[in-house]
Amino acid sequence: MTQTQTISLTINGEAVTATVPVRSNLVDFLRNDLGLTGSHVGCEHGVCGACTLEVDGAMIRGCLMLAVQADGATVTTVEGLADSPRGQALRDAFHRRNALQCGYCTPGMLASALEYVEAGRPADRAAIREHISGNYCRCTGYQAVVDAICDLIGQGAKA
């Protein structure tokens, strides 16, 4: 019935080997098998962005990638970011500018925002809105998220 496969990967700096059902997606594996519940599941079809996390340097949808596809990969989740200086300035900016309310979209939103900031892109509100448009937030109306990213980049220009 249920086929399994053994995979080895690096998650938040730790080597992990696990046997997973081949139909399990990456975010379910992280949450249910490893207890890394920081990544959230919002839609399971790649639209809402709540499960956005980093695999081999790229921000991907954890619900659209099978766990077996991550064999050999380096994965960083919100928990991994929290334990490192990386992203600290972004978290501070989110806190300072009230860029989260219920917190459910936040791990994915942080991942997308980090991608923008680390790419060295400008404090251009329209460009930021376009970049985070793959992450639904039902609470903030997005303005504070844009504020936070702009704030971090260093220019608070309205547009």
């Binding site: 019935m1 249920t2 059902p21 139909r23 949450r31 249910n32 207890g35 890394l36 519940t37 920081g38 990544s39 959230h40 599941v41 919002g42 839609c43 399971e44 079809h45 639209v47 809402c48 709540a50 989740t77 919100v78 928990e79 970011l81 929290a82 978290r91 989110f94 806190h95 300072r96 009230n98 989260l100 309310q101 219920c102 917190g103 459910y104 979209c105 936040t106 791990p107 942080l110 509100r125 329209a126 930021i128 809105r129 376009e130 985070i132 448009s133 793959g134 992450n135 639904y136 937030c137 039902r138 609470c139 903030t140 109306g141 997005y142 303005q143 504070a144 844009v146 309205k158 547009a159």
Partner: protein, 786 residues
């Protein structure tokens, strides 16, 4: 100079720390040892008779623990409705049974038929596919007018599909009709307030647990009001007394109303955990959420406004069809009635109002409160018809509103509520200023130069929040009180824990509530912790909805803290060898008035718990107080929103170029949090105006049951919001003078957007008086091209 702590300070949210580091604890993060998983097999037809459910093959599949069907719930209570509306003729509404799992018939796509409990989710899903259903599909009724005009009956045992025919105020009807006969001008508008889905980003989750050793049941659930769930589920569904039932709602990822209600899945998991003596967990998928979370809005309305020759409002008459869906969700009957009819006066001194609402059963998902709940529907029709009247009569829409504003308070409306305070001219003036309306013509010309049609829309709103005076709502049919509670526990070393029935699912209570108490005592906010979301450790409370938490829950905290301070003053008087009456509390120090004798907060709290030197003959040790606060009136936030749009005449695409919100929320505890609440409400209201719609086909198939089909606003769909809350008329009847800010954005924005689009079209020679939401490019283009 902005304050840096206490009431009025933009204290940064302490919740953020855990949410930014992946350390939040949401219901789906809870996994209990030995838990089983349930998958619900749901109806894929809108209406059908269940002739057979064959679970034989499914039950034998790997990992399956047990399969439940409606037969397992015979003799178990159905989901109760929390509000009984009485119709125009004095009769109670028609109230159908709402079983946990379908019995005999399925009545909407998504109605749960069977529940497969297995060792894993995958096994439960696989087994559900092996269940053989024999369902005879019946004709479904989706359209409300068809439902009341002889369409198929949703419930065979009810007389009709009409839940109730409500008239308000029925005694005013003849006078209203007479005013229309005599009016110089009558403006009529027919419109729809479309069905929406709340869509908090966290889908619903329930984990039931049962302890055979003690007989205690626990439910972990994504709820805005765990005590209400405990009461409804314990008393009406499963027959578990409150002392044997604990309901926990930990971090909850947004609610917007949809997590107020008691749902079948909660009762199922609690029931099944006892039946199999294992924890049972359910996590909704997003498509399940579209088929099982209560929906919002879905009104079809005809509104008429009678005016005299000078444009003074004489009377309002409305007829609304309100969709209840297939069953009555917990508070569904109250939304189109007491949360809608009572707001039809808006900000205006219209002397005569008659509201007729026909609530209708259809083969659709139940409809209940969604952010604003009744008040957006009232505001939308009123502010649309006023705009239309202004055009018909050639009066400036700003002036037409202004001349009809209520300006003296308190003001008793003809629809049963009394506004305690407000200043509608102030918020209007502020909005006109912030929106730079005087610069509109230049911006319009600039838009025209690049081929775009610019329009400006205005909306003035009022809402009733701080729900609600218990005695009043009891008379109106509520089957619950609507007070709130707080227990303030002071610890020996001076820190406080506040246990509240209010529930935070994004509102920042853990930050804002301590600001209030810190200000009262004069201590640091960090000395105060808020505990909520667990019936085991907080007093009976009614939860969070209707923008009530600070106005009602905060007031309970103030009352409990006042009791604390009173007792602490007696202890201080003893320590200082002075009279109670001479003790003053300031900056965390108790002092004897007119002297330099003082004792610190921490010394007094320590004395309360180590009562070596203590007036034991007069005063009990300890420092813990509870208060229940029952409001004496609703609160009435109000404001003016102004929207500027550009319409692309080639495609009909609407772009919001400027959006201004000037709100009067009374006193503000945390401006940063208030602004965030307004932003979020605006995004949802703009989403309704431009994007969102829950669509059924004629057979009752839900066509918008995924994020590929239901258009939620994204970051690049919404504009920059200019918000202002500097106009403040404090509420006169609660101790904080606060009104509530959670729903205003969603209430005030849709009419502003639609008014702006109609304005853009009218300015360019199109005789368009209304377009139903959402204003998609196709709809706008069709309206422009006749």
């Amino acid at each position: 100079m902005p304050k840096d702590s206490g009431i009025g300070a933009s204290s940064k949210r302490r919740e953020d720390v855990r949410f930014l580091t992946g350390r939040g604890k949401y219901t789906d993060d809870i996994n209990l040892r030995g838990q089983a998983y349930v998958h619900f097999l749901r109806s894929d037809v809108a209406h059908g008779r269940i002739n057979g459910i064959d679970t034989g093959e499914a039950a034998a599949m790997p990992g399956v623990v047990r399969i439940f069907t409606g037969a397992d719930f015979e003799g178990v209570g159905g989901l109760p409705c929390g509000w009984q509306v009485t119709d125009r003729h004095g009769n109670p509404m028609q109230e159908p049974a709402h079983p946990i799992l379908a019995q005999g018939k399925v009545r909407h796509v998504g109605d749960p038929i069977a529940a497969v409990v297995a060792d894993s989710y995958a096994q439960a899903r696989d087994a559900a596919e092996a269940i053989v259903l024999d369902i005879e599909e019946l004709p479904a009724v989706i359209d409300m007018k068809a439902a009341v005009e002889g369409g198929p009956k949703v419930h065979d045992d009810l007389e009709s599909n009409l839940c109730y025919d409500w008239g308000f105020v029925e005694e005013n009807k003849d006078a209203v009709n007479a005013a229309f006969e005599a009016a110089a001008h009558v403006t009529t508008l027919e419109l729809k307030n479309q069905r929406l889905v709340a869509n908090p980003m966290e889908p619903r989750v329930a984990v039931g647990d049962y302890a055979p050793g003690t007989g205690d049941s626990t439910l972990y659930t994504t709820s805005q009001n765990p005590h209400v769930i405990r009461l409804l589920m314990g008393a009406f569904v499963l027959g578990i007394p409150e002392h044997k039932l604990r309901v926990v709602a930990p971090d909850v990822g947004g609610g917007f109303g949809s997590k107020i209600f008691h749902y079948a899945e909660e009762a199922f998991c609690t029931f099944a955990a006892k039946a199999i003596e294992r924890p049972v967990k359910w996590t909704s998928s997003r498509s399940e959420a579209f088929m099982s979370d209560a929906h919002g809005r879905d009104h079809v309305t005809k509104i008429e406004l009678a005016l005299d020759a000078d444009g003074m409002f004489q009377a309002i008459r409305t007829e609304t069809f309100a969709n209840m869906g297939a069953y009555l969700s917990t508070f569904a009957p109250s939304v189109p009635t007491w949360l809608h009819g009572t707001l039809m006066a808006g900000n205006y001194k219209t002397p005569l109002i008659y509201v007729n609402v026909k609530a209708v059963f259809t083969n659709t998902v139940p409809v209940d409160a969604y952010r604003g709940a009744g008040r957006p529907e009232a505001t939308f029709q009123l502010e649309r018809v006023i705009d239309k009247a202004a055009r018909e009569m050639g009066i400036d829409p700003v002036e037409l509103r202004r001349k009809n504003f209520i300006t003296e308070f308190p003001y008793a409306t003809p629809v049963a509520v009394e506004y305690d305070t407000g200043d509608y001219n102030a918020t209007l003036d502020k909005a006109l200023e912030v929106a730079d309306v005087s610069g509109f013509e230049a911006r319009r010309a600039a838009s025209a130069a690049k081929g775009k049609w610019r329009g400006l829309g205005l909306n003035c709103y009022i809402e009733a929040c701080g729900i609600a005076p218990s005695a009043l709502v009891g008379q109106l049919g509520a089957r619950a009180g609507l007070y709130e509670s707080a227990t303030v526990r002071v610890n020996a070393t001076g820190g406080l824990v506040v246990m509240t029935g209010s529930h935070s699912h994004g509102q920042g209570h853990e930050t804002a509530f301590p600001q209030v108490i810190a200000e009262m005592i004069g201590i640091d906010e960090s000395m105060i912790e808020i505990v909520h979301g667990d019936t085991a450790n907080s007093p009976m409370g009614m939860g969070t909805y209707g923008s009530r938490s600070l106005a009602v829950g905060g007031s309970a905290m103030v009352r409990a803290t006042e009791k604390i301070i009173n007792k602490a003053k007696k202890i201080a008087a003893h320590l200082l060898e002075a009279s109670d009456a001479d003790i003053e509390l300031k900056d965390g120090q108790f002092s004897v008035a007119g002297t330099d004798k003082s004792v610190a907060w921490g010394d007094v709290t320590l004395a309360a718990y180590v009562p070596h030197n203590y007036p034991l003959e007069d005063l009990e040790p300890g420092l813990e107080e509870t208060a229940f606060y029952d409001p004496s009136n609703f609160t009435y936030p109000a404001g003016t929103y102004i929207c500027e749009v550009e319409v692309d005449p080639d495609t009909g695409k609407v772009s919001i170029e400027r959006f201004t919100a000037a709100d009067d929320f009374g006193n503000v505890v945390n401006p940063m949090i208030v602004e965030g609440q307004v932003h979020g409400g605006l995004a949802q209201g703009i989403g309704q105006a431009l994007l969102e719609s829950c669509v059924y086909d004629a057979n009752g198939q839900i066509l918008s049951a995924s994020y590929m089909d239901y258009a939620m606003p994204r970051a690049d769909d919404v504009p920059y919001y200019s918000v202002d809350h500097s106009c403040q008329t404090p509420c006169t009847h609660n101790p904080l003078g606060v009104k509530g800010c959670g729903e205003a954005g969603a209430i005030g924005s849709p009419p502003a957007v639609v008014n702006a689009v109609v304005d853009a079209l009218q300015r360019n020679g199109k005789d368009v008086t209304h377009i139903d939401m959402p204003l998609s490019p196709a709809r706008v283009w069709a309206a422009m091209n006749g």
